[in-house]
Symmetry: C2
Subunit: 495 residues, 2 copies
């Protein structure tokens, strides 16, 4: 029952052989590029969820996809979907492979085989409309490819999720992704003017309009659909001129609760930084220790960033610092902030190191209205501690507010606990369930920006209610009548 010692990562188990028939393979190879190589099949079947990473390390049996298709254009995608529909083969769309909730698992549903469709070759910027500040882009483009092309024209999308370097536009749309500069640029749902998706029923392309009143908004059904309705192939994005100026600082505050309170007042007073991150005392202590700093009291660190015109940045930061200073905040300047910015993209990969050393490292995120946020925060902490105590281990749980709104905020929890040897999956499940039950009970949402995948499926009824699930199932049946699109994700399979 002790914790696992640091060890070599076990060799991956071999994947079972492909379930595709010879004739499927031949037909698919006429349509598109197809690979049945074991390495490709395995690497396309694993995302970045704790269970995925743990499975690899423990040498658990791999559920591998039966083949990986690499379409070169939308027409090939269309023909793949048509073929799979006709032959009863399930499809898992694959973007950057960064799902943290099992969204890429090659589940077959009640189909005889499953095909993963990797969209990396759909990576073109098709059109830029300088007048309307719009870019029409293929969905398989990686974050850095997209920003490079836009920035060479003096533009930016401004979408920087933590997975930025490895994730793609289609994945952002499919999961309602949100980057750390959401205060200025919004979430991906604010950036998408129109979207095109290939469904088994045909192409669904929403019209590109700044705003409209033409019945329920269909674009909002594709956003968050996680591959369960079709393959997102293209989007029209609202872009901006590259920011003229930026200013990012760290402000020290004496408590997490006080920091939350003053930042709420700041945002409600109309001052909205591009970036706000408020670390609780535990996370702040960890950050300060890693940076080799010591503090007398246990403080709460606020990371604050403005972007935009020089005037916007100067007056925004001035207004924010005034409010924070009045409430006792201490401006620590820019340097501490630049350390953080490097850390932001690196931290997910430090997880691998800790996993190799026998630690469970998992993140949880939610959002709630301000009036519910504190009880939710305290409740999740207590629940995680309780589970750790029951299991006889001492764990660390850190938290920060990562996105701020006038009506509430999102909380991001990181837990680091020694793994229980032989009970690794069960241990994770207990922590996940205990925390999620508090989240649901305290008025939080099942996910602020990670999505559903398979890990959150069991709480979908509680999140939405019966009538809403009926509506979601109906949309799924209308667009994907035989249920081939990413079965067992977002919605549980019906009997």
């Amino acid at each position: 029952m002790g914790r696992r010692e640091p060890q070599e990562v076990p060799k991956m188990s071999a994947a079972p052989s492909s379930e595709l028939l010879e004739e499927d393979v031949e037909a698919l190879k006429i349509i598109t590029e197809l690979t049945l190589e074991e390495d490709e099949r395995i690497s396309h079947s694993i995302g970045k969820s704790y269970r995925d990473l743990l499975g690899v390390r423990l040498g658990l049996p791999i559920e591998a996809t039966d083949a990986v298709a690499l379409p070169r254009n939308v027409d090939e995608v269309r023909r793949i979907v048509e073929f799979a529909s006709a032959r009863g083969i399930a499809i898992v769309p694959f973007g950057g492979g960064t799902s943290v909730l099992g969204g890429l698992r090659p589940l077959r549903g009640n189909h005889r085989a499953v095909l993963t469709v990797d969209l990396r070759r759909l990576n073109k910027v098709l059109e830029i409309d300088d007048t309307s500040m719009l870019a029409r882009v293929e969905a398989g483009i990686l974050g850095p490819e997209l920003e490079e092309k836009l920035q060479s024209r003096g533009m930016t999308l401004g979408h920087y999720p933590q997975s930025f370097h490895f994730s793609v536009l289609g994945g952002w749309i499919a999961t309602r992704s949100r980057g750390h500069l959401s205060g200025r640029y919004g979430g991906i749902e604010d950036m998408v003017q129109a979207v095109k998706v290939i469904t088994p029923t045909g192409e669904l392309a929403t019209k590109g309009i700044p705003a409209r009143s033409v019945g329920p908004e269909l674009r909002e059904l594709i956003l968050g659909s996680e591959g369960s309705l079709g393959i997102i192939v293209e989007a029209v994005l609202r872009v901006r001129r590259k920011a003229e100026a930026t200013d990012t600082r760290v402000v020290l505050f004496d408590s997490f609760s006080g920091a939350l309170d003053v930042c709420r007042k700041m945002v409600q007073a109309g001052i909205k930084p591009a970036l706000v991150r408020i670390s609780d005392e535990e996370e702040s202590a960890m950050i300060m220790a890693l940076a080799g700093l010591e503090a007398e009291d246990t403080p709460s660190l606020i990371l604050l960033g403005f972007e935009g015109s020089r005037l916007e940045v100067v007056s925004g930061m001035k207004g924010a610092l005034n409010i924070l200073a009045e409430a006792g905040g201490v401006d620590m300047g820019h340097e501490a902030a630049s350390v953080w910015e490097e850390e932001y993209y690196r931290s997910p990969y430090q997880r691998d190191e800790l996993l190799d050393r026998g630690y469970l490292v998992e993140t949880l995120e939610t959002a709630a209205s301000w009036s519910r946020l504190w009880d939710l925060y305290a409740g999740v902490h207590r629940a995680l501690q309780r589970v750790n105590e029951e299991q006889g281990v001492e764990g660390l749980s850190l938290c920060h507010l990562s996105h701020i709104y006038r009506d509430g905020g999102s909380l991001y929890f990181t837990m680091i606990v020694p793994q229980l040897l032989g009970r690794e999956v069960e241990q994770w499940q207990k922590l996940k369930e205990a925390a999620t039950e508090v989240i649901m009970h305290e008025g939080g949402t099942l996910s602020h920006h990670h999505g559903i995948g398979v890990d959150h499926l069991q709480w979908m009824r509680e999140e939405h209610g019966e009538a809403a699930l009926k509506a979601l199932r109906a949309v799924k049946s209308a667009l994907d009548p035989s249920g081939i699109m990413n079965p067992g994700k977002v919605l549980e399979e019906e009997d």
Copy 2:
């Protein structure tokens, strides 16, 4: 064929007697307050569309609802919906009665009778959360009632559609309504944190969360549903502190195209007034004539308003005026603006006067990306002129941009034409169709903020495409399996 002379409004035709059975009436009277009075049945069957108003004036036969229910609470609404579902009676939800697209027409579909449910008694502010700046409100509350209650607490919603004095919250949500201060406050979809709707399948209540990633967003299906999925009974609204300051001015510009261009640049540079209205040369000339002013050249009037903290207003207006002045705009100050503000709410009612004098007065609105806007504008003007010429009348068509976005704007057309005696409906239909075809062809949307009702039904396929309509129909079938909710609106009835 000549134009109609000013005349007395003809007396309303009597409505046919109610199709409700004695036993329906008795059962409904146990559930709620019910009236079968002819006046009430007629006044609840007419909205504010040109056809509605014309029908009354021409004494055309009235399609009247069979009864009007006036539920006092959500439970009564629920029981009404259950009763109507069980007995196969159609329901038309009724808020303020201001639909301009026939959304209130008492169509029966394939049901034996139709019941209009007037929500005016669901007008309570149920809860105010000062911390999260949220208000939970019943859906039948009128604009002025809601603002009065919020403003007595120092708050505002900031939603001021032109129908403000007579329309209700539920109607705003059902039609994705947008008020003239949308630049600061957004559309109603930005203000609604959560919504509760009674559908024939049961209650659908979305969770109140600042943002979430839990599959397709169900709230966005209720927004714009126009009563076709259920009766909206409650919403949680994002409110704000009342603005500390406002500043509204008129700026004179030498051409509409130039004014559009400079305002686009202003918004794309990050300066976003709460209110922007840009009148084309024809509308500007009309406004100036009504105000007793003369201009040497034909100018374009820009109405510009800022709201917020003193700092926001001063720096916003300064930035805007700098950009406009550099491009040749002339600041005319506040007085002209205050005249406009009075006019804003009065102008829909001046339509009645013109109708009484034998004029066709109709408005059309759309939105498009900036790069499409000019061709759309010019095309609609040409189409309206062509139809008038074909019909041998001289008409006026005015236009303004009424909502501004980084990626585009909405255009609002007003046409005033002498009515063709004996061919009034046909004349209107020709103008509506000619303009809408240009709108659809030039990349505009069928409606920016008026909705679908019955008048826009025939273009829904072109707006959304086949796959999207399938999804919409599927949602309708899931939530309203026997099709009793506002039949023949939003979606055409299937055979």
